[in-house]
């Protein structure tokens, strides 16, 4: 017999292993799944081998203290098993499992379709979601960030499409963008998604076309709005291309530039860089620099197209307000500079993005409030999302960041005194920090803890 009492953890494991002969608890479903069921712990686990079991058993038989501990462990385990089993149903049957697999295939097939729809838009520059000039692609793209697949916008659309174009040069570019975008889907995905909602929120005051672009919206702060992807999947959210014509003044692929100075020159603003001491060990101190030029996207409302759309969804009661016909909503997407700090494997480990503020203006005769009211009253906009958007008081200067409610968690934070948000992929695999300061939107992302990212963010200068 051993003279040293096993610790409670070892006793607990021993309790489980000795269970099946005399202690196994049959769960309601007939599967031994409660605490005292003994799993297959094999010799691959030498720390808790059968030999150890005998030693523990010999000790416990002769040790009053361990018997008391064991009793308490058993009561705790039994209580837990009973409570959890009482509130859980049976495992899925074979038929239920097959039905679930069938549903999954259906969802993935939908993804594939969405991928085809969005691929051209992604080709044009996923980094800043710059549209291609094709109204369909633009429409699909603007839908995508707030669509059910928003957080996987960079995943499903591009990859779903890959088998069709596995070796094209565009595919190579798309792959690079995809990796970049995947890394950036937290902060930059938020920005991109926000652009979609800016489009819905930005509300132009009446303006003569000759007056040209006049910013009515200028992002000065950020706010989170949550949406339910499953609901969004059903509604499809906005279909801007169905309400008029969407045009983009240029395609904006991100391009590699030689250094930070060149990027700053192209972007028109000084590029902030982190204190190298804040970067994780093994991460290069020399970033790869990418630049995406700004672009301008224009949605011109068209009464006939809107009529056809409303008819197609059996909403003959809806129509485009007269004042909106011919009016254009203009979204100015800012230049973006990306700094990628590669790890030891030469792949991006820390990503920093900087952009000027987003601006939205109008050309036409519709008023600010009329367009806003119209867009927030669109039938495909989930009521809860509409309520959140309506509740933004200073909406002419607040950029909403849509967050899929079941895919990301977020919390408010301050970065060097500026308000921002920490976003976490809820698989726990990545984090991002996004904030706005001095007229620019900044983001830091990487597969590391949010506190480490914030340290990098606060060192930017």
């Amino acid at each position: 017999m051993t003279t040293i009492c096993p610790d409670p953890g070892r006793l607990r494991a021993w309790l489980d292993r000795k269970g099946p002969a005399d202690k196994a608890v049959e769960a309601p479903n007939g599967v031994a799944s409660a605490a005292l069921m003994v799993p297959a712990v094999t010799a691959a686990s030498p720390a808790i081998s059968t030999l150890d079991d005998h030693a523990v058993e010999d000790h416990v038989v002769a040790c009053d203290a361990c018997q008391q501990t064991l009793g308490a462990l058993e009561r705790d385990a039994d209580h837990t098993a009973r409570v959890l089993a009482a509130h859980a149903g049976s495992p899925p049957t074979v038929a239920e499992t097959e039905a679930a697999l069938s549903r999954l295939h259906g969802t993935l097939a939908d993804d594939t379709l969405a991928g085809v729809m969005n691929a051209s838009a992604m080709n044009a520059g996923a980094l800043n979601c710059a549209p291609t000039g094709s109204s369909d692609a633009v429409g699909a793209q603007f839908i995508a960030p707030t669509h059910a697949n928003a957080p996987t916008h960079a995943n499903a659309p591009t990859h779903a499409n890959t088998p069709a174009h596995p070796s094209s040069s565009a595919g190579g570019e798309r792959s690079s963008i995809t990796v970049l975008w995947q890394r950036w889907r937290l902060p930059l995905g938020g920005i991109a998604a926000a652009l979609a909602l800016v489009l819905t929120l930005a509300t132009p005051e009446g303006q003569a076309a000759a007056a040209g672009f006049l910013a009515q919206f200028r992002s000065q702060r950020l706010t989170i709005v949550t949406f339910d992807p499953s609901q969004a999947r059903q509604t499809g959210l906005f279909r801007f291309e169905q309400l008029g014509t969407v045009k983009n003044n240029q395609t904006t692929r991100p391009v590699d530039v030689a250094n930070v100075q060149e990027a700053a020159s192209k972007a028109g603003f000084p590029v902030l860089q982190p204190d190298p001491a804040t970067l994780p060990a093994g991460v290069s101190r020399t970033p790869k620099v990418r630049f995406s030029p700004g672009s301008e996207t224009r949605l011109t409302f068209d009464e006939q197209k809107a009529r056809a759309y409303f008819d197609s969804i059996n909403r003959k009661d809806l129509s485009l307000p007269d004042k909106l016909h011919g009016a254009s909503l203009v979204v100015a997407l800012p230049p973006i500079v990306m700094l990628e700090y590669p790890g030891t494997d030469n792949k991006p480990s820390v990503m920093i993005g900087e952009a000027r503020e987003v601006q939205v203006g109008v050309e036409g005769n519709a008023s600010l409030e009329e367009i806003r009211t119209f867009l927030l009253g669109m039938p495909n906009l989930p009521p809860d999302l509409a309520r959140q958007l309506r509740s933004i008081q200073d909406w002419t200067s607040t950029l909403p960041i849509p967050v899929p409610i079941d895919k990301m968690t977020w919390q408010e934070t301050k970065v060097a005194g500026a308000p921002g948000y920490i976003l976490n992929d809820n698989t726990g695999l990545g984090s991002g920090v996004i904030w706005q300061r001095d007229g620019r939107i900044l983001g830091v992302a990487g597969p590391m803890k949010a506190t480490d990212l914030r340290r990098i963010a606060e060192s930017l200068k």
Partner: protein, 223 residues
């Protein structure tokens, strides 16, 4: 349009079949895990579907990147090595369990959805199972009590430290110590420690008196 299976088979050796096999093998074990965490079968099935959806998309992404980029996406699979779907079942299983736990915890933390779930659960409790609807214990007042008890259990689980909660849930959903260790990235010898602490803390947080407030279900019977 290519089907999902065609996507996989375009670049790899029958990954679609492997994916389906994994689903059939793991789905029946993951749903009870999620169910114990959420206390809501529909929600449990939902997040397990979501976990497999992510697995499929990860496979698509990795296959696309292959040949142009070495698999480098830490979001898709931890560490270096072959694509996730090409790894052994136990590795994929651990990944899925981790994703399910994280998705579940995230849902628990969302108050609005929790409230919606409570309403939906109370509405559906008596209709999901025809056998139940014939039982007086599943009358609307009792359903409310069940929902309240379920929420109390969820609150007690939420209060546990992350690893203790995960160990407890995995173990009581029938997973082995080796599977738990692989899921949480801890030594197998530590599983018992976390489990013992978790069960003790859970019992303290959800007392027998509180437990009795729920359906007094004898062990081995359907609640």
């Amino acid at each position: 349009m290519l089907s999902v299976a065609e996507h996989h088979t375009a670049t790899s050796d029958r990954p679609a079949e492997r994916f389906d096999d994994l689903f059939r093998q793991l789905y029946p074990r993951l749903v009870p895990l999620a169910d114990r965490l959420l206390g809501d079968r529909a929600e449990a099935e939902d997040i397990v579907q979501e976990a497999f959806l992510r697995l499929a998309r990860t496979g698509q992404r990795e296959r696309f990147d292959r040949g142009q980029h070495a698999p480098d996406d830490a979001d898709a699979h931890p560490g270096a090595g072959p694509p996730l779907l090409d790894r052994p079942d136990e590795v994929v299983g651990a990944w899925l369990r981790r994703v399910v736990l994280n998705l579940g915890v995230n849902r628990l933390r969302d108050r609005r959805r929790a409230a919606a779930r409570a309403v939906r659960a109370s509405q559906l409790d008596g209709t999901l199972d025809p056998e139940r609807s014939r039982d007086d214990t599943f009358s609307p007042p009792h359903a409310v009590l069940r929902a309240e008890a379920r929420d109390e259990v969820r609150a007690a689980l939420s209060a546990l430290p992350e690893r203790q909660r995960a160990c407890l849930l995995l173990r009581h959903a029938g997973h082995s110590y080796a599977e738990i260790a692989a899921t949480l990235g801890i030594a197998i010898g530590s599983v018992g420690v976390y489990l013992a602490r978790g069960e003790r803390a859970f019992r303290a947080a959800y007392t027998p008196d509180n437990a009795d407030a729920g359906p007094d279900t004898p062990r081995g019977t359907t609640p």
